[in-house]
Assembly symmetry: C2
Homo-oligomer: 688 residues x 2
């Protein structure tokens, strides 16, 4: 559900921007590798380590995807799942109330009976990958327009997914890889009963707050433990990670198994220009707008601050990440190197008649960017949780009239269960917050399309954005889950006759929304096919041993645990529990550098030399949050939770000169669970 | 100086945007009236009060303009000047250091010897107004292009100003009124030795902070007292305000004499559309960008927060004001009424052959908007204090080669003293803050013009914005005032050979800056002339008893002291000192609702019923901050410091339904000076 738009943007950017692709150069420890195309040779050559098929299969099945936008792992036979606090914060937020703020206080279930069910969380465990490229491409006939080709492919993808799902009982998704050069069928076991076991206080998980975010050295216990259930019992898990209690050592080779959301390393020069000059600046304007909006809303009091907190974190996190990203693109030397690479490639293509058919792919990408730019002024997206529900109800009622494979993709049968879990989520929504956000979105709609655009006038209904938003919120019943169910039950007829003002607004915007979505999907298709051609050209020129751009599907990254040098300073690979206390003191123990009471009480019991965070060179990005870090024996040594500020260019290019992935060290987690949180019984379950 | 760009934008928007004009409808207590065209008839008819020429002349000469962007008044024969804390905060900031933060602690000079000289403040007292329209227009010959006409007018304006200045020894500025239908010569006595006498703590002056800003009821002691000096002695002031110690009573008619910065009430429908859909959204994006940037910078520590504080206030204040403004424009009913008004006017013009020559003025305004929009993508403005100094040095060296009347306007002889006072200001500048801001501005330049624009590449010099900004700051000596003087002394030759990196950057941008400035000034001229035509049409159809749009020159506004009703609630006209303590308690005494220690210590001595703030219906806008509020006897009853949130549409239209001007009540000021700040001796000087 669109409850918190910006979390998605943060942790699972793949869910928002389309057009995936593949890396332009592979060097050092670069790469987010497919489990069915691992860089075995590189690993053996560089590190003398060759993972066996069993090793990889076990790690794959021990890895967990959070559909809310992050990664995690199974760490016990009785269903314990380890992830980041900031991945689970969505759950913590939804389970909190004004008087019981789990984000602030943390949580510990002393018995399974005390574990709290997440309202709408779905976890996925990857079971198998199958290449279905030929079957998907077979439905495209010569001379089909891009729109028709896309439609044919979409329909075939829905059919393949449904067939596979019916046969296996698994969640089956087709993933478009290498910008459309390959289609792989991913089959997942789904867990929808997920319960909260333990979470630290935000003060410990996000120590240093927005100020320390993306900085290193770092001192965050950014972890949370959940448990999956089946049939109301802790699930029995076959594949889970053993624990190396000593954790990662300096220079040790480690692996990261997680779900990077999106990278754009194959992007052509024109696509990068569009990002640098148009898309990223606009995204940053939007993020800053929402950040200021939520800050203002938070002035209303502590409860308002709490209500906005989870979304605020996502926004600030994204804002900082995008700022780093655009800075990387604005460095002229980067685009310069891309221009050269592209020119050389086109020269090689021109020299080889067999490759002639790929020659105009770059031009197609450029054309798509120009069209996207034009479309951006017509955008009718309303980034509001409660409006999102209304819109989904309106779309679903219409889409359900069609055969599954002809529907907009999220309304296909095989996705219905996941969709309804979100739509009927009992997680609280706050009318005052929704009103403020909706008002801002109506203002933004007016700014995007112009204040007298007929659709804007229809949406505003003769009022200013603030007054209109107040009317809309007062005139909807959709805060009540039962009311949503009633609308679904009434179907298309119900939508037609609805007097709910938000549903009426969604109907007002419906045809334009559909028109723009259709145009956008056609552009996506053209761009995908262009990137598929570029990929084929690269396969021909450079070989197929390359990784595709990230797609919020499971990947393996690797690299040694290693510090770095910056501005003449040597940054050690690890920090310690004792260092956290020093870090607090050096900032005068002022917000956001205040450790929680629990830490202060336990201080004397703690071994201050216990490692807390560490860095390695593995290639990660948003969506990797919560990924297990394992050693060559496949044992858990850490949990990814961040990249340093120098790694923020990773969306476009990887560098291990000073860019690093930042993890919670397993030793720090175990020591804290035992000595700070009185949860030795959890430590005892882990790895067993 | 461009030390803090956003203060200007806030308090004296007139300094930034050109194109003034006149109101489209006059109703209720609307109007920012010229002192040489006061609404005597209206006042007599509605309030039975007819100001005498002496009354008006005395009030005019008791009024003070702060060239940093605000208003004030003389309140004693020995030079005391009363204004807002937020107008003087620029001075307080510049007089502060890491260990002596006047903004935080407040200030009190117990003797004149203890009074602190403001580094670069200029105050103006208006002495006379003369209509020079005919002389200015006489230089425009038939068939001149707009560019030539503008040039001829500019040159004549410089000549008139210089002649008048040489004759009177005063500062003489020509003000373009009614969008160019009238030119008036304003002659000011200048005060450049201004010293700080008393300021309260920000906690009291800005109680409730950004959260309460533009809200009402309000509880702010937003005042500061300065003193003007001549020949190193307190100046002897002939015209100063007497004080009505009881202050404003409910329903009493009051007058506001101050310097509203800019209104845009004459704007045509097309100009309003440009504001609503282009200009204001972009301005808000920029303000939010700078707000977030300074917040991030402030994470560096208390000292960083202090360094950014003054600019931050201006930015947050503007952001809130512009948000209200755009909300007003986005209400479809407002533009609807403007469309109708314009259509009717054009019908009348079409019906009267004598008015035919005005018919296409609206089309000209529309064309100008389209051209401004196109130019905005080429903007090379770098909003950085230290770069601003470099740019000014580069421009000055070149302009000084020309006769005074041919120079860019700020470099004319008659302005030299004011210019150098700013340029040689000893106020501190901080290299870390300047570096962060310059980096952001280089990034913004790249976003505006595209990352591979030749000028952008030249400005970035092969580096990313952050690295380049660090290089530039490390490679300039301009933080040192003596270095600036040396550059000025070396003249054009010095600029040519300079190795200062910021001067080199200013030279790189110089020709494009000049090209764009020329184009913009031509557009201004076309627009001004179009508005002059519209004004003549209105004079012909509606009479000449109307006020022109605000121009940061002295105006008189009026209206009764009156509460209002909003959302079914009755808001009383005044708040009290006791109410401030209640307001603190009702917000849990949390930041920003913490009264300073001085208030708590004095609480028992204070009369809690003393009025603190009050509202009236007078027509004000940014720039009016610090304006004296006087009764019909011309006695001081209050000091303007804000408008309520419902008044934020005042840039485009006035309404007294719920819109109100907010003042500090004189009784609250006197009681606080005496009982909280131990400054009875100041109270004793006031009005005497």
């Amino acid at each position: 559900m669109k409850r918190s738009f910006f979390r998605r943007l943060l942790l699972a950017t793949a869910l928002i921007v389309s057009g995936s692709s593949l890396s332009s150069t592979t060097s050092a420890d670069e790469g987010m590798w497919l489990y069915n195309n691992l860089p075995l040779e590189t690993l053996e050559k560089k590190y003398g380590f060759k993972p066996t098929a069993e090793w990889a299969d076990h790690l794959m099945k021990s890895s967990v995807r959070f559909n809310s936008g992050g990664s995690g792992s199974f760490v016990s036979s009785n269903g314990l799942v380890l992830t980041n606090h900031h991945v689970a914060s969505d759950v913590l937020f939804k389970l909190s109330t004004a008087n019981n703020n789990l984000l602030e206080q943390g949580f510990l279930a002393k018995t399974t009976a005390e574990e709290l069910k997440a309202p709408d969380l779905e976890l996925n465990q990857l079971i198998s990958i199958e290449d279905v490229t030929d079957r998907i491409n077979a439905v495209v006939k010569d001379g089909m327009s891009p729109a028709d080709a896309s439609k044919a492919r979409q329909a075939e993808m829905s059919r393949v997914e449904k067939e596979a799902g019916d046969k296996s009982g698994l969640r089956c998704d087709i993933v478009t890889l290498y910008g459309g050069a390959r289609y792989h069928l991913y089959s997942y076991k789904k867990y929808t009963d997920v319960r909260l076991v333990w979470a630290p206080e935000t003060k410990s998980a996000f120590f240093g707050g927005d100020a320390d975010n993306f900085e290193y050295p770092r001192f965050c216990l950014d972890t949370t433990i959940l448990r999956v259930y089946e049939n109301n019992e802790p699930a029995k898990i076959e594949h889970y990670l053993k624990v190396d209690a000593d954790g990662a050592a300096e220079n040790e080779l480690v692996f990261v198994s997680g779900h990077p959301g999106r990278t754009r390393r194959i992007y052509t020069v024109d696509a990068l220009r569009y990002q640098r000059d148009q898309r990223l600046p606009k995204t940053l304007d939007l993020l800053r707008r929402k950040e200021v909006l939520l800050q203002q809303y938070g002035f209303g009091g502590d409860e308002q601050t709490r209500r906005a907190r989870d979304e605020m974190f996502g926004i600030q996190n994204s804002r900082k990440a995008y700022t780093g990203m655009i800075g990387g693109l604005q460095n002229p030397s980067y685009i310069e190197s891309k221009i050269q690479y592209e020119a050389e490639m086109q020269k090689k293509i021109a020299a080889d008649p067999k490759l002639a058919k790929y020659a105009d792919a770059w031009k197609k990408v450029a054309e798509v960017q120009a069209k996207r730019q034009a479309l951006s002024h017509q955008d009718v997206t309303i980034r509001s949780g409660i409006f999102g529900i209304a819109q989904e109800l309106v779309l679903m009622a219409a889409e359900d009239q069609k055969p599954s494979e002809e529907r907009l993709r999220e309304y296909r049968e095989s996705n219905r269960e996941s969709l309804l879990q979100q739509l009927y989520s009992p997680a609280p929504m706050y009318d005052d917050l929704e009103r403020v956000q909706l008002a801002d979105e109506l203002a933004r709609l007016a700014e995007t399309r112009g204040g007298e655009d007929p659709l804007v006038l229809a949406a505003l209904h003769g009022k200013g954005p603030r007054e209109r938003a107040a009317d809309l919120i007062a005139g909807t019943k959709l805060f009540d889950v039962e009311a949503r169910k009633a609308v679904v039950a009434a179907g298309a007829k119900g939508i037609e006759n609805s007097t709910d003002r938000l549903i009426q607004l969604a109907k007002t915007l419906d045809s334009e929304y559909r028109r723009l979505r259709k145009l956008t999907e056609e552009l996506d298709e053209v761009e995908r096919q262009a990137y598929a051609q570029i990929t084929e050209a690269r396969f021909a020129l450079e070989g197929t041993s390359v990784y595709p751009d990230a797609t919020f599907t499971l990947r393996l990254a690797f690299g040694p645990v290693q510090g770095y040098h910056v501005d003449g300073e040597s940054i050690p690979y690890t920090t310690t529990l004792g260092g956290a206390f020093e870090h607090e003191e050096s900032h005068g123990a002022k917000d956001p550098w205040i450790l929680p009471e629990s830490w202060k009480k336990a201080k004397d019991k703690l071994n201050p030399k216990t490692p807390l965070n560490f860095v390695c060179t593995a290639d990660i990005i948003g969506g990797n949050s919560g990924s297990p870090v394992v050693n060559t024996k496949g044992e858990l040594v850490g949990i990814i939770f961040d990249g340093n500020i120098q790694s923020l260019t990773a969306d476009f290019y990887y560098s291990d000169e000073v860019g690093r992935a930042v993890s919670v060290h397993i030793a720090g987690l175990l020591e804290s669970l035992d000595k700070i949180y009185g949860a030795k019984f959890i430590v005892d379950q882990m790895g067993k």
